[in-house]
Symmetry: D3
Subunit: 329 residues, 6 copies
């Protein structure tokens, strides 16, 4: 089943499709009404107002529901909206989440890259330790769905796996420049650095923080998950000293105390992983900010406002062909 | 002519070689004497004390001189020193600086990489602009000697060129992950980002800051050099808008105001260059810190003190073979 | 032609005058309407709502337009507004901008001060270098219009020239206390310190940042302008060392890296210029904040909220006659 | 066997006792010599210099050794020192460490307090979880020796237990004021908050950081120890949710990210534990600083220099009897 | 006379009671109306809108007025509001403020604690100095009404006295652990530390800052009040040196310059008072935040947003019975 | 009596003069000896070592003594020193302190300026309030001696008065630019802003902090002194509101909490005084740093190290005649 591409639906288009309810807003003022925001993998659109007379239609609807909607694309002050004729909550088990949520798409290529890199690992105890996670179908199943953040960079299904590949690519690239850096350790650290996000985020319809994600944080959760998993083996797959090295890589990847790292990087591989993680997160944020037309109303060259994801910087869409066309002819 | 490898000279070894005078220390106390530190490309060694009776030997000797030394390696409190019999200042023009100063060694491979990357640039105006510097033999001659810092990362002859290659390697690698990033611009920004160091540093025997390096700084000096060079052409090799893009890349590469960037990165390429520059500088610093035995006296696993180059972190020489030997047999 | 003084127009007053469109707000809600903010040199006033039935009146109107308005001052909830009968965009070339924009008024007195100070300069090369700008009619023409900031201190036509005079007055005054300070250099630094704002701001109707202002910043733009102008002469009017001194004064005037100075002040004149610039900017901000009745609703003595321009301080209208009346009689 | 009280030994006193070697300093200069610092539970004293002719006496002596010393208290420039006649390293197993190291003294009263508080705990699962540590003789044995810091507050054998009691006393006192605070949880959090120091410090002669203490840190080590211990039980003594509460208390006790807390306090008990911990550490530091005559040379009222332990504050020995004597007589 | 308990009034309930006007909001939009917020000691409730036709009812009503209201509890979008039939401003002298404002309730127990602690003071000059304030009926009268903050912790009538008792309780508790701490001085410092709030706050209906509170601040105001009071005695009740000690305690209680302390704590008692003050303020804030259901909509476990009073932390209502019920049976 | 000009005394010069003992250093090492630093108004010079055989000569000599010295200027390692033949402590009452301590010289011109400015004050109550201090011979006597800092800017006798004049000059100059600024208030604030230094510093031979200066600080001490003095009058010379204005000026002059201001400037005059104070202090520091040859060894253009007084900046002695000589001939 194909879903409608929301940003491209013309006025008057008829929809008869499932959507996720991303927001429910009860608006006051003198003419109270409710507006809901509907989304699928292609984007999002607001509904036309539900006036008091129609309030039964949205009674009980909550954020995260999936609803079967029948309606028509209308317009209000130059902005498209969905005039909803009817709307019905679908049972969760009938929902094809992947088809409805923002997603990096097919994750096969990411797994291929990860698994190929893993075959390069020479050290048996390291390979075995990583295998506790990366050979576990259940882990893979959850890891390939988890977003890399709730609303920042790579905030989409599969975002964490995609981010992991970016960090590995960058980190291994940096490592190649410094002979003293152990590529196996870089890879291991990269593959483990964000596993704590599996227990920090929920992605069942909407992206949300779990209680452990709030009160422990994904950095320490990751260290606990690694520690528990390794010790759950009847015979530990690596030594205590080796586990210490891995836990240091994981715990230091935020680089500085004020960014939530309980310890700062103290090894070459820890330093590399920190910078690779940073480069992936920040460059992806910049790419997303520049790609988002909402930041550049009226074809502005400089973003109309400072952008939260870029630590309150503005972005610039400065472009040139550097003479490619006229000169290269 | 080969120079003695200072860290390996045995007690009693006889030297009859040129050295750079890296430091001249007049020590007071009750038995005043002078000690000089001599260096060549292999490292450094202190002289035995010159007592008042020998003070004529070191009269007029200054930091940065090259001196022909005859002497013997002796020992004092378990530390080797050079007992100097005679010492004579060499005329600067007779000195083979490269043989005497710390250096990255043959720079051919770095030029090869840089020039190969440059051939990938499609855009004619960009290539021409870069060529103003990178096709200029005089620029190349100075660029391949300049260190990347005075006493931090890559503080050796050729260090700037080596660092430039590392940044290009990392930056182009990051760029490959983000289709919106223009690899030509990344390369151009990398090749230009530190050109201001040519006017900020001196490397004639010792590494020192110039007056413009102190009072303008290498970031803005680089922008001025680029601006002047481009405008010195009878017909500008690129447009004003294109020059603006390059100057933004150069001026923003320190990333934050408090790190000396007059503007923060606002384009994808500027962001990438900043992170690549950072990754090269910080990882090199960590690698050097870990490699330096002086940081780990008595075979300590953790560095004995916090390390200035690492923003006052300690470093850890944690190692393991992860079972390679015993298990892989 | 005289323009109506907006803050003093009584209810029922009839206007038939040109205004700048300072803002266009499309307001949603249940009764969508548009409100525009009109301004002239005397202040600003909002229009009455344009309801959907009148939306043709404001179609195509944009920020920065000048419109000929016919209307009447009405009132809504104790606040005056302009009920617009008709409204017509004027061609830009017919607009007398100076009469419509906030302005410091006649700039003659400021030029008189600047030019008198310049005659005190003894050093011929310094005088000649300053003359490249201050004897250039085109430069003078733009400098006397440019504001000193977009919405902070001296944000009005001529504000930059007024601010320059304040800084010169304060800086020369400080200099008089320290014999080692060179008054010529102080003056030169003051006259050059903000020239980069000419290329950083636009003031054609509304005050806005240019692209170079955003991506290079006025500090470095100023240094580039100075460098280019001096080198554009067939024979440089000053030496390279002298240019370095001027560029240091210009580049360091923000005082600290985190305030956007690529280098910190390292000479006596640089220090003085920094403090004089600061004193003018901050004192003017405080004076404007205290003068603005909107900060003190209901005749409050303490401002009702923290004030952004004062780095989030509150202001106090504490007053007393200290006995002048009763005692001095 | 009683040990000599170092701060009170008169000139000429004869010692024939074991001491810990706290420092070995090889001093250069023109008359090279070695000085060692000897300590026992009462304090520390430097040796007279060992000149080259006596260097065999100190050959092989290292920090942390215990040596049997025969010597005489002599004086040098008004400072007492120990002129050592002979010195012999004692086998570690013969050493009575407690008699030689700074110590809080008998820890019985602290255990009594801890165990009494524990009996107040009503909740069975909480009591059982705490008992995993506090009923374990091995844990108690190590906990009652561990210092609370290496050179800051409570840096003595038993210091951690003493500090724990102080935090409990303060925390329970605060808790009494807020009915919503659960005293059982406060106590549990206090008893667990610093357990990570057991694996972070070594106290066998000298106080030193372990490798895990450096690369993981005592905060996260504590969480790992708790997690491992609870899961090591065949049936967990508490629920996962309850473990989460305890881990949050432990992980948040440093209060802010920049102080090394991976998460900030989010519950009432976490907040209380943080402030109680802080109050104990800082007040103890102030008490120690004021008690240390070295900070107040020449009977100064204000400390002669800023004190590192007090975050670079000075301390004031301002005193008064407030009229107790003259008035109350 | 009993006042209605606002949070518990059912729909349809009839009120005929005095209330404080806590806010008057004129709302624009297309149907302009006014809403007032009414409060009494039990809480607050908004009025139904006063439409233009009823605007005479609220003409002249201002924040801080007490009004006699006749009306009925109605509902609008699931939120209760008060439909006001009539409303009449009461003369200030007829108002029983205590019955109308949020309050800690009976302050007798707090005075009892304070006065009992005071009897422990041995030192006559200290007791006499404290007595200048705490034996002064006028001081007591104002002190027992003053809030401890305007909208943060203990923001209710009597809040300052309650906070003072908490700080004394905590501070004396800490002091008991450190024999060098003088409990008399701790108590004296606690009783004096916030007296400046008496001149910094107004609490006549609404809580507001006075002009001296804004332009001098309660810390220095307190020192001035103490200084003036002591010197107003014909013979000073303590010595100059003793006054200095008290003033230091008072002036340093905010702990750090950036928190508004003109000096940092330099004595043991100053340190203890600072931490006790902090612990009371922060723990009370956390307790209030956790108690406030508005922070936890939909029974959320984690607060829905960061909380200003907690320095932008979130709060967690994590709970467990730790097996009390099932296991203890 | 004229004192020898220490920086100009030739080798072999004979001295027979009084000096202040600025420092007494007992140096250890293998050949223990004592060196004292002697100073007079012209500068300072170290003594030759006092070996143990001469130690009786310096027995009992302490910092701050004035000693009558007979000796000869000798040299040691190119540095002049004073070989002391005999040395005798002078009774304090025989000492002409002014002739011996660094000083701004004749303070007449400063008083003349201050008193002339005061005559401009129109407001009788303001004049009378200032007169409480500035018409008090005892105040004037101490104010004209007090330094403006202990070792920073204007650290010399009379430095505070000189600094006060500079601040007045700058502040009145700034005030002239802003019509809303009251020059009387600026002057009053300037004259009062640092009066607290009178009780914060001692200048009897050496410059030192008093106990109140440490534990209250000069900012609040000044406010207390003003408050006490005004209230000591049988009838207050100004109103309470006017006193509040003056105290705000005094308390806010450090500008920011982290610089020790208990409140930030909230009036125009407070803002001006803060910037004028800053400009005087910082410019004087820069002038002193540039004037001090010790910062520029070997005729360096850039200071050899960062300078503490300049917040760790380096200073630059960049100079040029800008063509005055060659061109103006």
């Amino acid at each position: 089943m194909t879903h409608p591409v929301l940003p491209e639906l013309p006025l008057g288009a008829r929809v008869q499709d499932p959507f996720i309810v991303l927001e429910v807003e009860a608006r006051g003022g003198d003419s109270p009404h409710t507006i809901i925001t509907l989304g699928n993998a292609s984007g999002r659109m607001q509904s036309a107002p539900f006036w008091p007379s129609e309030s039964h239609k949205v009674a009980g609807i909550a954020r995260g529901n999936v609803v079967q909607v029948i309606g028509t694309v209308s317009s209000y002050r130059d902005r498209r909206q969905l005039a909803v004729d009817s709307l019905r909550v679908l049972p969760r088990e009938q929902v094809d989440w992947h088809a409805l949520m923002p997603s990096v798409g097919d994750v096969g290529r990411y797994w291929k890259a990860v698994d190929r890199w893993r075959t390069d690992i020479q050290a048996p105890r390291l390979a075995r330790t990583l295998g506790l996670f990366y050979d576990d179908p259940d882990f893979r199943d959850r890891y390939e769905q988890c977003p890399a953040s709730l609303s920042g960079h790579h905030a989409e299904l599969g975002g964490l796996l995609k981010h992991t590949c970016e960090v590995a690519h960058i980190g291994l690239g940096i490592g190649r420049l410094y002979p003293a850096a152990d590529p196996d350790l870089i890879l291991a650290g990269v593959l483990l650095h964000d596993i704590g996000k599996l227990e920090s985020y929920r992605w069942d319809g909407v992206f949300e923080m779990t209680v452990p994600g709030s009160v422990i944080g994904h950095v320490v959760l990751g260290a606990l998950m690694l520690d528990r998993r390794v010790r759950a083996e009847s015979s530990m797959p690596c030594t205590e000293d080796e586990l210490l090295i891995l836990e240091h890589l994981l715990l230091s990847h935020h680089g500085k105390l004020e960014f939530g790292a309980p310890v700062v990087p103290m090894t070459l591989e820890a330093e590399i992983i920190h910078y690779a993680d940073n480069a992936s997160a920040k460059t992806a944020s910049m790419a997303e900010a520049l790609d988002n037309d909402e930041n550049f109303p009226d074809d502005a060259e400089i973003s109309a406002r400072t952008i939260w994801q870029l630590d309150k910087r503005r972005a610039w869409r400065g472009e040139s062909d550097w003479g490619v066309a006229p000169d290269s002819a």
